[in-house]
Assembly symmetry: C2
Homo-oligomer: 256 residues x 2
């Protein structure tokens, strides 16, 4: 049965999409069957895996509306054991359309109910907000992975995210856990980075991944080639960091 991870943080630009692309690819490289779902209307996960297209095709929007199954919407990627459910411009309207829909928080969970069994991991990329798209991801997930940029504004938003998680746990999804906080764009030479890291560790004792992601030019370049970092530059610091994160998650899950 798949482990379903929502990668979420309402603060923008903290590395959510970069984490889904590269964690999914690293898990696939470790022979795990992985499904990545692009729930962000921006579609950066879809283009970061080289599958951007203007042609109409089934998408994550159709999973939410119930028109399509995962099997009908998924695409192959450059990695054999990584599938993608792409984004779609219609997702922009989905937040408004879902407001008055039945079971509006459970749509994604229902769509994944049978499909997830074919995968070891399902990773969901969320938009930078706490609206109905992110809510669908949190209700469908077993756990949430929180990428956190080591900056002041990013730290401020964490309390809001935590109180949302608690609300989701009590109202919709009692099993929702925190998989961990992932420190991203880390530059240990900066005092601000060190200050934020020590704040985060005291806020989340035992919940911060050992692996952290350094700021790396190659990570910023890879998406323009539509490739995850392990296919763009396997020797880079970014590739090492995401491979280490994948190993750590696999070890944590093996211990259960």
């Amino acid at each position: 049965m798949a482990r379903i991870l929502a990668v979420a943080n309402q603060k923008g630009g903290v590395g959510k999409t970069t984490t889904v692309i590269n964690l999914a690819a690293s898990l696939a490289a470790a022979e795990k069957k992985v499904l990545a779902i692009d729930l962000d209307p921006q579609g950066n996960l879809t283009s970061g895996l080289g599958r951007r297209s203007r042609d109409p095709r089934p998408s994550a929007y159709d999973l939410l509306s119930g028109e399509r199954t995962v099997a009908e919407a998924r695409l192959a990627t450059d990695l054999a054991s990584l599938h993608l459910v792409p984004s779609d411009r219609n997702l922009i309207g989905a937040e408004i359309e879902l407001v008055t829909a039945d079971e509006r928080e459970y749509r994604l969970r229902t769509a994944l109910a049978t499909a997830a069994a074919e995968y070891d991991y399902v990773l969901i990329d969320c938009p930078p907000s706490l609206g109905l798209l992110t809510l669908n991801a949190l209700v469908a997930a077993d756990a949430v992975l929180v990428p956190l940029q080591c900056e002041y504004f990013a730290l401020e938003g964490v309390t809001e995210l935590l109180s949302t998680l608690r609300r989701v746990q009590s109202a919709f999804n009692a099993r929702l856990d925190i998989a961990g906080v992932l420190l991203t764009m880390v530059d240990l030479r900066m005092t601000l980075t060190q200050q934020v890291i020590s704040e985060v560790r005291s806020h989340f004792p035992g919940r911060v991944f050992g692996a952290h992601i350094p700021r790396s030019v190659r990570l910023g370049e890879a998406p323009s080639f539509g490739k995850p970092i392990i296919l763009y530059d396997i020797k880079s610091k970014g590739a090492e960091a995401y491979l280490a994160l994948a190993r750590e998650i696999l070890e944590n899950d093996a211990q259960g």
Copy 2:
């Protein structure tokens, strides 16, 4: 009569809030009367100006609901001629509440109709989405300032933003113009940055501000002290850049 600028880009983490804080402060330093409005539930503009608070008080949410006027909601800041309408956690629910409200796109425009006359500039900080909060800002605005991080994903989102602006112009606000595209977190040593800059200039001929904002550690530090860069470190590259931007905007507006 005030010039109303919406600072918007649905891509997260591109420097929207940093631009509103520091452009507002730089215009205030040039003796302009400025009102900054925090339309983002994250409240980073409010805390970046040192006015974060958990106590209930009038906010931007009350402007949208019509319960309060600008005069009732505005706060003084460390700069005499800069006022702030703060954010509020209730803004999270506003996107959903506005869906079924009357005149849902015009709420902010109505709230600003009389108050704007007291100011030379009104700057609106938008959340990283194209929902009803950003829509309210675009309908209220004379022009939109688009901060653009020089990265691949940020460039991808610009076409989506432009098509939204055209839709807003034809459906709600014919006067909406583009004040300009502001290049942020610029590091001219990086090839990716140079590639993005030349793409942007060809996409937006004549619309990219001459002033650009370099990546600067001090800009990242200033918010943790609740101060704009001109009060935190006037000699820094970040302060120089935002003062240059303010001068350029004042010159553009003087020519009309």
